[in-house]
C-alpha cells in the first residue's frame, strides 16, 4: 500500500478549477518530484494534501486512511508536514522558536529534535537566536525545512525550496534530502528547477494546467517527453 495516495483529486479556488482529478502515489522511502510550469497546479496539489485548500473527503489517503476531510492541524499530527512556498517563517520568532513551534504538532515518536536539525543544518546552530527576517534566503529555507521536520513527519512536502537561491546553496539543501529519507521521512518535491529535482528523485510527475501530463522514473524519460509534458504540444 502506498504511504500517500491521491485519487481523482480536484481543487477549486472559488469558481476556478485548479486541479482536474489527480491520481498520484508516494511509497514509503521514496523521494518523488513534481514538475510543471507556473500555474500548473503543483502548489495547489500540496495545499490540497495538507488541508489548506478544500478537497473531496475521499481524495487523499494516508496509509489507506482518508484524510481529505481533516483540518490542517489534524493532518500535521498524522505525519504530513509542509515546507511552504516562500518559506513563510514566523517573522516575530527566532530560528530556534520557529523550529520549536514546528514541534507543536509533533507525533510522539521520531528522530527529529532541535539537536538533530542543527546537525543536519549546522549553519542554523550559530544563528539559533537570530530573528527570522534577518536570515539569508538559504538559512531561511533550512529553517523552514527544519521546522517541518520537527513534527516528525512521515511525509515531507517541499514547495519550491530552490526558489531564489544561489546554486551552491541549493546544492547544500538538496544534500540534506537523502539524510531526511534515511531517517524515515518520504519526500515530495515540487520544483521548477527540473535538473536538481530529477537528480534526486526516484519518480517524477509532471503537471500541466491542473492535469497530470507525465509520470515515470527520471532515467526512463526522454528530454522530448519531458518538454512536451511540461509545455504542452
Amino acid at each position: 500500500m502506498p504511504l500517500l495516495q491521491t485519487r481523482k483529486l480536484t481543487a477549486f479556488y472559488g469558481d476556478f478549477q485548479a486541479l482536474y482529478g489527480i491520481d498520484a502515489t508516494l511509497d514509503a522511502g521514496e523521494i518523488i518530484a513534481i514538475i510543471g510550469a507556473n500555474g500548473a497546479g503543483k502548489s495547489t496539489f500540496l495545499k490540497a494534501i495538507t488541508g489548506l485548500v478544500r478537497r473531496p473527503a475521499g481524495a487523499v489517503l494516508l496509509d489507506g486512511e482518508p484524510i481529505g476531510g481533516k483540518t490542517a492541524a489534524e493532518i500535521v499530527r498524522r505525519g504530513v508536514a509542509l515546507v511552504p512556498e516562500g518559506r513563510r517563517l514566523f517573522h516575530s520568532l527566532t530560528v530556534e522558536e520557529n523550529l520549536l513551534i514546528g514541534g507543536h504538532g509533533r507525533r510522539s515518536a521520531g528522530p527529529w529534535s532541535l539537536e538533530r536539525v542543527y546537525s543536519l543544518f549546522p549553519a542554523l546552530r550559530d544563528r539559533r537566536a537570530t530573528s527570522a527576517p534577518l536570515l539569508s534566503g538559504g538559512q531561511q529555507q533550512m529553517t523552514a525545512i527544519g521546522r517541518a521536520l520537527m513534527s516528525n513527519p512521515r511525509v515531507l512536502l517541499c514547495d519550491e525550496i530552490s526558489l531564489g537561491l544561489a546554486p551552491i546553496v541549493i546544492a547544500d539543501i538538496y544534500a540534506a534530502l537523502p539524510q531526511i529519507r534515511a531517517e524515515g521521512t518520504s519526500v515530495v518535491l515540487v520544483e521548477q528547477d527540473i535538473v536538481q529535482a530529477m537528480k534526486v528523485a526516484d519518480r517524477v510527475y509532471c503537471f500541466q494546467e491542473g492535469r497530470l501530463s507525465l509520470s515515470g522514473r527520471p532515467k526512463e524519460l526522454t528530454r522530448e517527453q519531458i518538454h512536451r509534458a511540461y509545455f504542452g504540444s
Binding site: T50, A72, A73, R77, A81, R88, F90, H91, L93, S151
Partner: protein
Amino acid sequence: MTDWLNALAQGVLLGGLYALFAAGLSLIFGVMRLVNLAHGDLIVLAAFVILFLAGKLGLDPFVAAMVSLPILFMVGYALQHVLLNRTLGRDLLPPLLVTFGLSIIIQNGLLEIFSADSQRLRSGSIETASFALGGGVAVGVVPVLTLLSAIAVIVVLNFVFYRTALGRAFRATSDDLEIAQLMGIDHRRIFATAMGLAFVVIAIAALYLGLRANFDPSIGPARLLYAFEAVIIGGLGSFWGTLAGGIILGLAQTVGAQFDPEWQILSGHLAFLLLLVFKPRGLFPRALD
C-alpha cells in the same frame, strides 16, 4: 509649583490605570487582530462581578477580585469560543459590529440588573491612605498599587509571550494564521486562551477602576477610548509601549486639568490626536502591522 509636581505624580499614577485598561486590549490586538469595541464595557462588567462577589460573599474587593479571576478567564474563553471566533476572517466588519452590539447589550444588561446608580468597591482604610513623596506631594496608596500592578501585569505578559510555548503559539498565530495551522496549532483554542487571559487582565483593571472612583453601567465606552489611545500612543506590538502610552495619556489629562478641570478629558484626546499627526505608528512600535 507643588501643584504642578502633584499633577505630574497623579498623571503617572493615572497612567498606571490606563495601562491596565490598555494591556488587555493590546493583548487581543496582538494575538488575533481583533478590535473589541466592548472592551471598556467588559471592564465595567468585571467591576460589577467583583462588586457582586464582594457583597454576596462578604469579601474584601482584593480577595473578591482574586476569586473572580478564574471565573472571568472562563467567561472570556467561552465568549471567544462561542461568539467571537465566528466573526474573525478577512472582513473587518463582523468583529467590529458584533463587539459593538455586545457593548450595547452589556451596558443595558448591567443597567437592568444593577440600575444606573453609581457604585464603588470599598476596601476600608486603604482607600484613603496616602504617603508623602516629598516636595509637598502626597500620593494615595491605591494609585501606587495600581501602577505597580500595571507593571507586574506587563512583566507577566511579556514573560508569557516571549518565554513560554503558549506565547510562541500566540506570536506564530498572529504572524501567519495559515502556517500556524500547519504547525498543528488549533487557532480557535489559542484565540480563546488569549481572550481568557485578557479577561484576567480586565479583572485586575476593574478592581482598580472600582477602588479609585465610582462606576456605573454607562462609563464603559470612555474607558475603551482611553485604552485605545494608550495603545496607539505607545505603539502597537509592545506591552511596555502600552505602559508608556498610558502614562503619557494620564499626564496629558492631569496637566490639562491643571489649566482647567473641565479640560481634563479633552486634553487627553487632543494629545492623542496630536501624536497621531506626528507619530502615527506610536512611540515604540514593534509589530509590523
